[in-house]
């Protein structure tokens, strides 16, 4: 059990007797991206973690074979849930972690009875009659972009923050998270994420689900969010007046309010 918690850099805080609430970060980030959201949910037993290869996770636990589909990531989430004996929990997943939560909730419905999907997409690449938003060639371009940023992705960003002795946690956040994302694993994760297709899984979700959608999102367009909500049987759709893919960072108040409304009715 300790191994799983160490592997995924799991942090548990909030009310130990409260309902468990698991936050999962998406591609490109780590658990720090929830920092503006979690303070509003301190009455819950909050569980934060990093996917293997990201943030403070144990990179040596990564293997391409284990994580070559989103199911591998979902299995890791279920292992964390088992290690912490989570039941009737809320799963909050940003971006690709929305689908990771969908897969985990289908596999073990009792663990995650409420799903909150922030900017989800079941398929990023356009397909016969379905508009995901990207052509296959554009995904290859992303992999190129990751290659080009190989150098910038080292510790080059650390000195930027050093001029803030009044906020030492920022420096820690920086050197401990973004700069430690393993570029090779990030590329694998990009491939797995952007070439995934989970449209067929959505109808199997039995958990109550909230889809949080930004008005303008270059990664997961509005129609994709609406598609997710239409396919999941017991779901709600909330459109946030926000631009971008990370409302948890750019519009935290709206995000919190929508989450609280949804959880109040459960």
């Amino acid at each position: 059990m300790q191994d799983v918690l160490r592997r995924n850099n799991v942090r548990v805080f909030g009310d130990p007797t409260g309902r468990p609430m698991v936050f999962a970060h998406g591609f490109g980030c780590d658990q720090h991206m929830w920092r503006a959201i979690t303070p509003a949910f301190e009455g819950y037993r909050i569980v934060l973690f990093d996917h293997v290869g990201h943030g403070g996770s144990d990179r040596t636990a990564y293997s391409r074979a284990a994580y070559d589909t989103l199911h591998g990531y979902a299995d890791a989430v279920l292992e964390i849930a088992e290690a912490l004996d989570l039941r009737n929990a809320v799963f909050v997943g940003h971006s690709v972690s929305g689908m990771i939560g969908v897969l985990a909730a289908i596999a073990e419905p009792d663990r995650f009875t409420d799903l909150i999907l922030v900017s989800p997409s079941p398929r990023y690449v356009d397909d016969d009659g379905y508009r995901g938003g990207f052509a296959r060639a554009e995904i290859d371009e992303l992999l190129d972009a990751l290659d080009s940023n190989y150098l910038g992705w080292s510790s080059a960003m650390a000195p930027v923050i050093m001029g803030r002795p009044d906020r030492p946690e920022l420096a820690e956040e920086l050197t401990n998270s973004f700069c430690r994302t393993d570029p090779e694993i990030a590329k694998d994760f990009a491939r797995v994420t952007f070439l995934s297709d989970n449209r067929g899984d959505l109808a199997k979700v039995a958990s109550r689900t909230l889809v949080l959608q930004c008005a303008e999102d270059a990664i997961a367009p509005q129609e994709v969010g609406r598609y997710v909500a239409a396919q999941i049987p017991d779901s709600e759709f909330v459109l946030l007046d926000a631009v971008g893919h990370c409302p948890n960072l750019s519009a935290p108040e709206q995000t919190i309010a929508a989450m609280q409304d949804f959880l109040a009715t459960s």
Binding site: D147, S148, V160, A218, G244, H245
Partner: protein, 400 residues
């Protein structure tokens, strides 16, 4: 702000320089980098003349109508949304991000961008300032570096396969077996196995129900050592048939190495094994410049057997001594190379004492278990990455 000084310039130019340098407008518009100001959502609110010249846009095509991320390729846009924007929110600044900007007319401009997020008095994001550097040449150079790295990784993989294939040809393909004798053998390359090592062993059948066992070490590593190893192995195979005396086999190998002009010497233990169903296992052996084999009895007593002899391939007229040993049930004869005893950690050798102690602990185990335990412990002693390759052969007379 300090007044720009033009004292160093000729008087005629000084006034002109001072005027330009005091013009904030000129410093901004014609800065040696593109300059963009955007709202927190990316909407362009201002662009300098350098940026417009770099990209071919008119100001009215950008200001209030385009977002910074709209100017990126699709891949760059994903990168922006998943990395750049979150990072900017969380730390207030990002530096040296590589993107391709889609210019007017569709041309792509490889660029390096830096951004800072300005906040209002309440700490809310107000606007973003971004500098854009043309990185066309730099990006091509980086691509070249990436290609070179890919090529280097491929060559390395090929070299590793070559080394491992060559190495595999220098030891028996299957675990050796001698009827009536429990045989264990392990070969472990140095480091990550990228290089052919000099250690070798062989077990093969002779006429009259006898078997030959040899274990040796050619000086050095790499392909040149491997050619000497191959020479040693086939020479011993031929010599073993020709000559019943282990010391004569040593002599024939010594002569072959000298004749070949091999620039590397070699150490070896060579033995002739005779096993009969109704008696002890008899081994006649000779030793050339090599650590003497160890005899481990069923009670864990350890002693060396044989007599020291000369290195092989150094001088003519070198000499070796034949010795004989009988293995009664439970006795094990252990042959090993110096990669075992001279395994090093922080300047300290693994050493004969540890070799003997480990073998004593494993005296009741089978031959393969003994050989594996010895190599595993030496590997662990060197934190998992041994500096030298190692070979171990164990011959054991089955107990009962």
């Amino acid at each position: 702000m300090t007044e720009p000084t033009s004292a160093a310039a000729p008087p005629r130019r000084a006034a002109e320089i001072a005027q330009l340098e005091q013009s904030v407008e000129d410093l901004y518009e014609h800065a040696p980098c593109g300059y963009l100001s955007t709202l927190p959502d990316g909407t362009v609110i201002r662009a300098n003349a350098t940026f417009l010249a770099m990209t071919g846009y008119r100001a009215d095509e950008l200001v209030a109508v385009r977002r910074f991320q709209d100017l990126l390729t699709a891949g760059g846009r994903i990168y922006h949304e998943t990395h750049y924007a979150p990072l900017l929110r969380m730390q207030g600044t990002v530096r040296e991000i590589a993107v391709d900007i889609v210019c007017a007319g569709g041309r792509r401009l490889p660029a390096l961008v830096n951004s800072v997020l300005k906040r209002d008095a309440a700490g809310e994001p107000l606007l973003v300032r971004t500098t854009v550097f043309d990185a066309t040449d730099r990006r091509e150079y980086e691509r070249e570096l990436l290609r070179a790295r890919t090529r280097a990784e491929e060559s390395e993989a090929r070299a590793r396969v070559l080394a491992q294939t060559l190495q595999a040809s220098l030891i028996p393909p299957a675990p050796p077996e001698i009827p009536g004798v429990d045989v264990g053998a392990v070969y472990r390359p140095a480091g990550r196995g990228d290089e052919v090592g000099g250690d070798f062993y062989d077990v093969f059948q002779l006429a009259g129900g006898e078997w030959a066992v040899l274990l040796g070490d050619v000086q050095g590593k790499g392909p040149r050592a491997a050619t000497v190893t191959a020479l040693a192995r086939y020479t011993v195979r031929a010599a073993a048939i020709q000559s019943p005396q282990p010391s004569s086999v040593m002599g024939l190998l010594n002569a072959a190495l000298l004749r070949q002009g091999a620039d590397r010497f070699c150490t070896m233990v060579y033995g002739r094994v005779a096993a009969r169903a109704d008696g002890p296992v008899r081994v006649r052996l000779a030793c050339g410049g090599h650590a003497l084999p160890l005899l481990v009895d069923r009670r864990g007593q350890v002693r060396t057997v044989g007599a020291p002899g000369d290195l092989l391939g150094v001088i003519e007229g070198a000499s070796w001594e034949d010795a004989a040993v009988e293995l009664v049930p439970g006795d094990a004869l252990v042959l090993y190379t110096d990669g075992i005893s001279e395994g090093r950690r922080d300047g300290e050798f693994y050493g004969d004492g540890r070799v003997r102690a480990l073998l004593a602990r494993h005296c009741a185990d089978g031959a393969q278990v003994m050989a594996t335990a010895l190599v595993d412990e030496v590997v662990a002693f060197q934190h998992g990455l041994p500096r030298d390759d190692m070979a171990v052969v164990v011959l054991k007379a089955p107990a009962g």
